[in-house]
Amino acid sequence: MPSAALLKVETVETYAGTTAWLMEDRTLPIITLHFEWRGGTAQDPEALQGLTLLMASLLNEGAGAYDSRAFQDRLSFLGTEMRFDADRDSITAEIRMLRPHRNESLALFRSALSEPRFDEEAIMRMKHELKTLIRMRQEDPSDRARDLWYASAFSGHPYASPSEGTPETIEKISADDLRRQHQALMAQDNVIISAFGDISPRELKQVLDELLPALAPKHQPTPLAPHPLQQTGLTVEFHEGPQSAVFFGFPGVALNDADFYPAFVLNYILGGGGFASRLTEELREQRGLTYSVYSYLVDQTAAPLWLGGFTSDRSTVEQALALVKEELKKLRADGVSETELRDAKTYLEGSYSLRFDSGLSIVQQMSFAQWFGLPENYFETRNQFIENVTREAVNRVAREHLDPEKLLIQIVGTPTGG
């Protein structure tokens, strides 16, 4: 059983009414903070796609009196790591510092949040980096397959665009656009805060009471329409080379849905469990058709999704894809065995505490739980939710969801037929 002490969350109320989650650990003199704002790159205006990610990338490129070089010099000098990132649904900030340097580290963090400079030189440099990221994703068949899948699945919806945007839209982004997006999306009322390490609740409250006023009080999002997945079919994009990448998906199950835990357990059996999964057994262990095949559930703001992928030699990719469909059909028709269910629960429950390894992984767990409105004792109760999953529920979810006809599939490569 995971130790109670490890999973115990303390909550800290800030003056602004925000509640932060904290796990104290004094073994090492490290403080890790994770901030996550609701609303991410799907908030980009269509003509300025890439805006939110570019904005996030610039937050450690100069703030207040420090230009980019001076700001980063200062962080290095303190041994402090500060990263900003964004995906379709959120903007994240992660800062890790040694306790003796917390005051100045937090002052720099506050500065990045409240007075980012968005200097022209830094904007130009980060635009180049962003365009490079686009090219990197296009070069890699697996990344390309995933991006094309989203474009297809969410045609007409902001999710269709990758977070990076296009070279054309990036070019049009101005410093004013960046400032406006920063003000609009990174506020006090849409932030989720998690902390781990060498800091007490009282101290964390002081830190947050000083930090939060750096943010605008209220965020101004553009409403994001739900877009349940309806698109199906198969598309192929040509890409040279011996290997073809496949990305597939079908409608998933939301985390707060009553069927989520049965779906989660089912996914482990299908393709989430590595060598314990059916897909790995059929494609890799039995037939050597792939090195890696996986599936996962993701509850994105606009749609819950059930996704997966693999790569295979061009001569075997169609055979491999047929096997994936076959497994979906089998699970739908016959369900899972008692042994499969028991083994899945044993793994999912027994391995849970492995997620609570480093400070970084622990703050991410806390942020995830807060994102979905889970209670502060969630980590202590989560295994019971898994244990309560019945075979009946799993098989019903399989019947309702695992339908090869519902698949949307993207292949990047040169499939030649099995």
Partner: protein, 457 residues
């Protein structure tokens, strides 16, 4: 800056050990106390306490890797790693990972040029079980021909995914082929595709006999346990295994004294490439051949040269209207016979690639002739010393980093002193290290570009 482009600087942690104690240092520089013991059959045991979670990370590190592949059989060490998960005489179903999953654990393995490591992360009550499993597969592997053929296909698929569909990885292979010509490091650990396709089954059985024994490995356990508990269990499960009595095979020595490599860049044009990437790899003596102070100076030097966006390369090539989009450098000390320095830059366009040859040379020359300031050194040392602490924040990272440090030798009592070495490096030390180790004739440069050659900017 974007996390996705941040270069990683591999740190060298020199190994810590000797029975029991390492004295604790100043508050920021604490390192855990490592327990050490040795079984009669030659298996050395290291135990690192970590009590955050009631789990243990159990690792067996074999001193064999891709560099031990027989000529013509490249890839066998790594393919063999795959086969270790298959049936043994006591577990004919061959479902190693499923057994670990059924314990609520995770497992994996990794093959490098000089190491193969197998590890599991399990609830602490399962330590005996994983020892039994590792001891079992160390000596009882059945190795069926059918499993061999299937795994050979899997490895070819792995190569397809990781290398053959990645222009940068293909270029890296060809660079390594030249950089380490005449030495086993010239071959990729994953193996050349043609050799993989014709790897014979017997290569696996021979490899097993030659390299898998308790005196050719060490055991490292990190987690919620103690030296006495680990030793008690190790004696029970690993103790009965017979030593091989074998010594490591001699390797050809690399010539670090004479300049033998051409400075002419290799040109890699690939229709799938969308970037213009300049890369250079230097070969250096292995880290065990450097005094700790020298190694600290070199580590800081490489960091200041290209480590992050506060580095010399980034300042000169990227900031302002730079010729490059991103730069990076790294020091890799995870090999027995060499260390490696890598430098890269992403250029805006094709002309930029050629220009970088002399521009990078000039910047390196500047770093070798002009002293970095004491503030620069202090900044780098602080950052690297902080990383040393961050690497201990997590059982998996702790176990893995200490395992690497132990595997690649060095002075026994030096690991915990690493931050002290960093903090005592002078500008002159850095200048000397860079001048000594970044030399003409000891590197290979590569230009990776789209086949059509037109700029994408």
């Amino acid at each position: 800056m974007f996390g996705a482009l941040a270069p990683t600087l591999k740190k060298n942690l020199i190994w810590l050990a000797l029975l029991g104690l390492i004295s604790s240092l100043a508050a920021c520089d604490r390192a855990p106390e490592i327990g050490v013991a040795r079984l009669d059959n030659g298996l050395t045991i290291y135990v690192i306490p970590h009590h955050r979670a009631p789990t243990v990370t159990h690792m067996v590190w074999y001193g064999v890797g891709g560099a031990d592949d027989p000529e013509g059989h490249s890839g066998i060490a790594h393919l063999f790693e795959h086969l270790m998960f298959k049936s043994t005489t006591t577990r004919p179903d061959g479902d190693f990972s499923k057994i670990i999953a059924a314990m609520g654990g995770q497992d994996n393995a990794m093959t490098m040029a000089d190491l193969t490591v197998y590890f599991q992360r399990v609830p602490k009550e399962r330590l005996a079980d994983v020892m039994a499993l590792e001891a079992d597969r160390m000596v009882n592997l059945t190795l069926s021909e059918e499993d061999f053929k299937t795994e050979r296909d899997v490895v070819i698929e792995e190569r397809g995914q990781r290398v053959d569909s990645q222009p940068n990885a293909l270029a890296h292979e060809k660079i390594m082929d030249q950089l380490y010509a005449g030495h086993p490091y010239h071959r990729p650990v994953i193996g050349w595709r043609e050799e993989l396709e014709s790897l014979p089954y017997e290569a696996a059985t021979e490899f097993y006999k030659a390299h898998y024994a308790p005196d050719q490995a060490f055991l490292l356990v990190a987690g919620d346990t103690s030296l006495s508990e680990v030793v008690r269990l190790a004696k029970q499960y690993y103790g009965p295994l017979a030593p091989s009595g074998k010594k490591r095979a001699a390797r050809p020595t690399l010539d670090f004294a004479h300049s033998t490599l051409s400075s002419e860049p290799l040109d890699f044009a690939d229709p799938r490439s969308q970037q213009y990437i300049w890369m250079r790899y230097y070969r250096l003596p292995p880290s065990v051949d450097l005094a700790p102070r020298e190694l600290a100076a070199l580590t800081i030097g490489i960091d200041l040269l290209g480590g992050e966006n506060t580095s010399l390369l980034y300042e000169k090539l990227v900031r302002g209207e730079g010729v490059a989009i991103a730069t990076g450098s790294a020091l890799d000390t995870n090999m027995r016979d060499a260390s490696e320095v890598s430098i890269y830059a992403i250029a805006h366009q094709r002309e930029g690639l050629t220009a970088l040859d002399s521009q990078v040379d000039d910047i390196i020359a500047e770093a070798q002739k002009t002293l970095f300031s004491p503030e620069d050194i202090e900044r780098s040392a602080n950052k690297l010393a902080a990383s040393f602490v961050y690497e201990q924040d997590g059982q998996a990272s702790l176990a893995f980093n200490y395992g690497l440090a132990i595997a690649f030798g060095g002075q026994p009592d030096e690991i915990a002193n690493w931050p002290d070495y960093l903090n005592n490096v002078s500008p002159a030390d850095v200048q000397t290290a860079l001048a000594t180790y970044l030399k003409a004739g000891h590197y290979v440069t590569g230009h990776i570009r789209p086949a059509d050659g037109d700029a994408n900017e």
